[in-house]
Amino acid sequence: MTYLHNIGAYFLMIAEMFRKPTKWSVMKNLILKDVDDLIIGSLGIIAFISFFVGGVITIQTALNIDNPLIPKYLVGFATRQSVILEFAPTFTSIIMAGKVGSFITSSIGTMRVTEQIDALEVMGINSLNYLVFPKTVALMLYPFAISIGMFLGILGGMAACVYGGFSSLEDYIYGIQTDFIPFHITYAFIKTFVFAFVLATIPAFHGYYMKGGALEVGKASTTSFVWTSVVIILLNYFLTQMLLS
């Protein structure tokens, strides 16, 4: 029952978020600030993780195909596929559910427990629009961060491949160009857009509707991380089924 209630409340929240918009001159600054906090502030960790995980994927693949009949360029091919299809869009989003998601839940949750949300409402401001809308808009730039992740993942793979002597640079470059299907990029970006929306709204929901004090803010962040990840994993399954098969 409470699950159903929460799902209903979540969709009502999204509808309410678009009502009575905040003045554009104010909203503009809120969006810029959230782009800075949520996107620019995450580039470092995304770059770092992508580069090294790309490298690890390459090493794993290379070590697992030591059959001389399999061509060496397959290492590059496999790395490209894993990075573009799953690693950059999905795996990174789970990490972002921890980083961006708990930031959103705890910042909105703190505003709830210290009555700052009540203060906004009392002034006649649509607090959902004021707080959640700019974060959602800011996260629409998230696919841009993911494309950097894709690039660096493949680059990391290249570095590991050549440095570890698993195949030559030419083979790797040949591999990452083999059988390239442009729709895979589209698929990855559709996923990323959906995940970006989830990353903004589910943590916001948990922060906005929380009850209690400072202790509960911590608990809300944890629950929000769990639910954001679960929803991302499930949506990933359904979107893959719908778009690729």
Partner: protein
């Protein structure tokens, strides 16, 4: 003017407000007093529409609040200034930005007009040099004064203060009380103040509603509160040693 009729509010089956009726007039400072836990904050939050209540009506200048649409409610709220018990300042903004916030949201003033207005109200609450501080860098009493400045900056029609001078020293308290009274009279607004400070009661209690256990136990003014023989009220008023002495002296003087 705000009219409240038969207000009932409970949390998880426990009734906190048990049917309160009263009116708060324009241009007067209305006080709600009572012990800690008597329901003052809950009452104020019901007035503001932050809490839903089971029964009763609240009318703002004749408009019954619960019957308004969401947008109409927001319009009424645009004319409300509220000082929360815990200040509720926006901690991502500086003190000056906090005070400027209602102006930025609801007026078309230029930057310099807004700045002048912010300087003016911050001066009135005795905070000349705190513009650039973050709320977390200000003392509790300073935060309270910033909250008051933010509540009055956009000339509200209704002003609500939840214990505006708790955490302030006696001198600043008096300054704040005077300020609230002045603004109330100057702009003819409806002001409702939660308090348990006897100084405020004496100074600005033009109308006093006494709450006890979620009921209105007494209603009067600072003229009548010291004359009543309602036990509940005298118990509250003369609870401090200082007030007991004052009463003693008064009685001795009359003999």
């Amino acid at each position: 003017m705000i009219e409240v009729k038969d207000l009932h509010k409970s949390f998880n089956g426990v009734e906190v407000l048990k049917g309160i009726s009263t009116t708060f007039e324009k241009g007067k400072t209305n006080l709600i007093i009572g012990q800690s836990g008597s329901g003052k904050t809950v009452f104020l939050k019901c007035l503001l529409g932050l809490f839903d209540y089971e029964e009763g009506t609240i009318a703002y200048d004749g408009k019954i609040f619960s019957k308004l649409t969401e947008d109409e409610k927001r319009n009424v709220r645009g004319e409300i200034g509220m000082v929360f018990q815990g200040s509720a300042l926006f901690d991502s903004m500086t003190i000056a930005e906090n005070v400027m916030f209602p102006l930025r949201m609801f007026t078309k003033q230029s930057k310099s007009e807004m700045q002048d207005r912010v300087d003016f109200v911050l001066n009135r609450v005795n905070l000349q040099d705190a513009h650039k501080k973050k709320p977390s860098e200000a003392s509790g009493g300073m935060q309270k004064r910033v909250a008051i400045a933010r509540a009055i900056v956009n000339n509200p029609k209704y002003l609500f203060c939840d214990e505006p001078n708790s955490g302030l020293d006696p001198k600043t308290s008096i300054v704040i009380d005077d300020l609230i009274k002045e603004i109330t009279e100057e702009y003819n607004i409806t002001t409702v103040i939660n308090s348990h400070d006897m100084n405020s009661v004496m100074q600005i209690g033009e109308k006093i509603v006494f709450l006890k256990n979620g009921l209105k136990a007494w209603e009067g003014s600072n003229k009548t509160i010291f004359k009543t023989d309602n036990d509940v009220v005298t118990d509250f008023v003369y609870s401090s040693e200082l007030m007991k002495k004052v009463r003693q002296m008064y009685i001795e003087e009359r003999q």
